[in-house]
């Protein structure tokens, strides 16, 4: 099949970017979207042009590296899937496909389709853990955790940290990402000791990074490749309010 690509090209964070058009013939519907970009890049290199920079690694939907905004949707037209899980059979012969990077103040563009998501790491560093040193853990079966609770924690813990929720949100809010982590730890007994301080700190860091406010439109959850539920945001709001009422002022 043939496709007409419009790809965001931007040399670095200090220069302006623009959409550049490329035509590709001979694309197989069985190709993954990223393999199609590989084909484009091989052509560009042969011509002596610079290939399109983009983040990717596992190419199976788990590392959270890939991050393309395709035809106005984070990770493209499929739901519950990352960019690397998208195949060309989701498009029609002759389609025009617009490919852009995540757009958010807290995710500055590094080059072309590649953005800086270290803000997420800093949010986790602010409190997304249980403080337990290596070697000090009790036997793993010491505390029984009801299966429903374990499942709920796992639902939240599945977040791959890709940032599609931020890219999909008109306010570029990181609520779903942060809520997933807060929720994962808030439901587990292991997370109780630091429950309040965690919610307070992570929310404070999220704000400091320049993510927008949440107006609960739900676009994040729709575009989330792991279908992280909005319930986690509701839980985080409760956690946060509860924490603030008895704040230790962190």
């Amino acid at each position: 099949m043939k496709v007409n690509l419009k790809v965001w090209r931007q040399k670095n964070n200090n220069t302006a970017g623009k959409l550049v058009e490329y035509g590709l013939d001979n694309i197989s519907p069985d190709m993954s979207f990223l393999e199609m970009i590989d084909v484009l890049n091989a052509e560009l290199i042969r011509k002596g042009d610079e290939p399109v920079a983009f983040d990717h690694d596992c190419r199976e939907g788990i590392c959270g590296m890939c991050s393309m905004y395709i035809n106005g949707r984070a990770h493209g037209p499929q739901t519950g899937a990352t960019t690397c899980q998208l195949h060309m059979r989701s498009f029609n012969d002759g389609d025009t496909i617009v490919v852009e990077p995540w757009r958010a103040r807290a995710f500055p563009v590094i080059k072309d389709l590649m953005v800086d998501r270290t803000a997420f790491d800093r949010v986790v560093q602010s409190g997304g853990y249980v403080s337990v040193n290596t070697g000090s853990a009790p036997d793993a079966n010491e505390i029984a955790i009801p299966r429903t609770i374990a499942d709920e924690a796992m639902d939240a813990a599945q977040c791959i940290g890709c940032g599609a929720c931020v890219a999909a949100c008109k306010n570029a809010s990181a609520m779903l990402f942060v809520a997933a982590k807060v929720s994962h730890m808030a439901v587990l007994p292991q997370g109780q000791a630091e429950r309040k301080i965690r919610a307070e700190r992570m929310v404070a860091q999220m704000d400091a990074e320049g993510f927008g406010a949440c107006s609960f439109t739900g676009a994040c959850s729709v575009e989330c490749p792991k279908s992280i539920s909005l319930d986690h945001i509701a839980r985080m709001n409760r956690e946060y309010l509860g924490a603030k009422l008895t704040s230790e002022n962190v």
Binding site: T118, Q125, N133, T134, N141
Partner: protein, 645 residues
């Protein structure tokens, strides 16, 4: 060179405890004066960096991805082994030890493997305390499953995302230490060289992948936790960025590389579809618990299927060859990975393969669905079936899945002693980057265990012994000539790559190398094929260095340049793998030499002549590598031929 494994004396079960007691300690108040570089933030690296920082050392952690959480470990699906015996089904530290030694076809060290089995139980405790949401029973206790043909249920798992959850646990511990100021994190930073002076590892040279800046980092010890080298085959189940560069460049400075030809080919992957294929996707091994592997009995039927004139479901039961069940009646579809893979290759080589390429066999769930109902199968494998359908665009509830073996794991790696130290003092290798625990074949769910064992429970003890010996003053400043010279060397290499300005993209060389490796140094090897491959690789190397096309420049984000450096190293490694495979005149585990097989095609090990670790020294540019042998001593297990008949 005399290879000292430093395996402590004494009874097997007491070795580690005694050894720990004998190790020197660093005074708590002095720990902060020691700097440790940890390259890699996968399970091995993240767990090591976090644990060392908790002890008080000053740690610098590096990874090439944008976040430590994205290391390749994230992709592990199946689970992690531990000798907890929570199921009361007869598991024990000794049994896990024994299974691992036997599974590795008697090419691993007893001492190391026993330690691994011992600390496995603490790993699970640690991970649960961090909040890792392992699967649980209704009573709230941890669930286990049997994995990879093990006779006991000792595998812990978190849905199909065990690696992810374990890595997020280690990443959270690491993040906590970053917040505490004990770990300095360098993401999108690639180690390009090791600095050695006075025979000791002194630090590393890195390239900032965003700005292109070359930088020096000095430390008292350097830990390479940089993963495996499966991508030497181009197509593998590894993440795209996985590479051998850090280990290879350390090798060039004197770190021996052990058993490079021991690679694991996983039997259940989604087959290759076209030339554009960039990587292969693993379908969890657990599928073999219920799926039956077959191909048509007759070549003609396979041909019809390949041409689309016939569907697999049209083929009568008596026209199908359930080749694993036929050849291995007692283990059937659950034979170890290497055996399953080799048999799939054999039937495809006979022309009985399916799919358009002829390089696929069926994994059929029809009988399981009939027996247990679709609901049950869905509950067990729903995710995997969905994933398969997304990629292949075919419904595995109705049509048998197609699978083919793919490169998955590398048992070889940097040679390390019992302390995980390489042959360069002060340089350590952890996780998949070292060679130590899996012999010639790794058991399912044991890599995650080993990575975390090395990082959480071994290195925190052993590195202290070295540091206490050298003292905190023994560190080079980053403006020392050794660093400046290394920086200049790397700048030169980058300039050279950029100036060749040939016509062929890097990926094309990588693909070519992969094909050579797969054809001649893959599932089945011969002296003749390997000799041919050696010539082809040398030729490819010449072409690469005269005709590769690297666009852009060095002072910016340049993914082509990154790839070029990695492929250059893979080409050199490829040659060493071939040498190693040629040297090992026996078949063991993942290494199958056709000349050394029984009449019915089973592997023939040669314990008399090859019960050793082949540790290779770098011989210099275009010079032959030098073989060193570490004899393996077995005091606790009796060597037997594996048989799954």
């Amino acid at each position: 060179m005399e290879l000292e494994s430093k395996i402590p004396a004494g009874p097997l079960a007491e070795k580690w405890t005694r050894h720990k007691f004998g190790l020197k300690l660093v005074n708590p108040a002095n720990k902060r004066k020691y700097e440790i570089i940890v390259v890699g933030t996968g399970l091995a690296g993240a767990s090591a960096a976090a644990s060392l920082a908790e002890l008080g050392y000053s740690v610098k952690a590096f990874c090439f991805q944008d976040s430590p959480r994205r290391a390749h470990s994230i992709a592990a699906q199946g689970g992690i082994n531990a000798a907890k015996n929570y199921q009361n089904d007869g598991d024990s530290v000794f049994r896990l030890f024994y299974d691992t030694i036997k599974g590795g076809d008697y090419r691993a060290r007893e001492g190391n493997v026993h330690r691994l089995a011992e600390v496995s139980v603490s790993i699970i405790d640690q991970c649960v305390a961090q909040g890792v949401p392992f699967a649980r029973e209704y009573g709230g206790l941890l669930a286990n499953r049997s994995f990879g043909g093990a006779q006991v249920s000792r595998t812990f798992y978190a849905r199909g995302q065990t690696g992810q959850q374990l890595l997020l646990g280690a990443y959270s511990a690491l993040s906590r230490q970053v917040a505490n100021g004990k770990v300095k994190l360098f993401t999108r930073t690639e180690m390009l060289d090791l600095v050695v002076e006075d025979g000791k590892a002194r630090g590393i040279i890195t390239r900032n992948l965003v700005t292109g800046k070359i930088e020096s980092h000095s430390a008292h010890a350097v830990l390479l936790c940089t993963g495996g080298y499966g991508n030497v085959f181009y197509l593998s189940t590894n993440a795209m960025g996985s590479n051998v560069t850090a280990a290879w460049r350390a090798h060039k400075h004197g770190a021996l590389f052990a058993n490079p030809c021991f690679t694991q080919i996983h039997p259940t992957c989604i087959p290759v579809k076209g030339d554009y294929q960039s990587k292969l996707t693993l379908m969890s091994e657990s599928l073999r618990n219920d799926g039956r592997v077959w191909v048509p009995k007759r070549k003609e039927d396979s041909e019809k299927i390949r041409k689309g004139q016939m569907k697999p479901t049209d083929l009568k039961e008596e026209d199908r060859d359930y080749f694993l069940e036929r050849r291995y009646p007692s283990f059937g579809n659950l034979v170890p990975r290497d055996v399953a893979s080799r048999n799939a290759k054999t039937v495809c080589d006979e022309g009985r393969g399916v799919s358009k390429t002829g390089l696929a066999v069926y994994l059929d769930f029809a009988d399981a669905i009939k027996r247990d109902g679709q609901k049950t199968i869905e509950a067990k494998y729903g995710n995997l079936f969905e994933m398969y359908e997304k990629i292949v665009d075919d419904n595995p509830y109705e049509m048998p899945m197609m699978i083919y073996p793919a490169v998955h794991y590398t048992m070889g790696g940097l040679w390390v002693d019992y302390n995980l130290m390489t042959t360069i003092p002060g340089l350590y290798a952890l996780g998949e980057a070292n060679f130590s625990d899996h012999g010639a074949n790794r058991l399912g769910a044991s890599a995650l265990m080993q990575g975390l064992a090395d990082g959480y429970f071994v290195i925190p003890y052993t590195v202290g012994d070295y540091l206490a010996t050298i003292g905190s003053a023994d560190k080079l400043p980053v403006d020392a000539p050794a660093f400046k010279q290394a920086e200049a060397r790397i700048q030169d290499q980058i300039k050279q790559l950029l100036s060749i300005n040939g016509t062929t993209p890097v990926d094309e060389y990588h693909r070519k190398l992969g094909l050579i490796m797969w054809d001649y140094c893959g599932m089945s090897r011969t002296a003749e094929g390997l000799t041919k491959a050696k010539g082809m690789i040398q030729q490819l190397k010449k072409e690469f260095w005269s005709n590769v096309k690297v666009t852009g420049d060095g002072e910016e984000m340049n993914q082509t340049l990154e790839a070029a450096g990695r492929v250059a190293d893979f080409i050199e490694l490829g040659e060493l793998m071939v040498d190693d495979a040629l040297n090992r005149n026996e078949s063991c585990g993942g290494h199958f030499r056709e000349e050394y097989s029984t009449e019915d095609g089973e592997a023939k090990r040669d314990d008399e002549n090859y019960a050793y670790v082949a540790a290779w020294g770098y011989g210099g540019l275009n010079q032959p590598s030098v073989l060193h042998k570490e004899e393996l001593v077995f005091e606790n297990v009796k060597l037997t031929q594996r048989s799954y008949k």
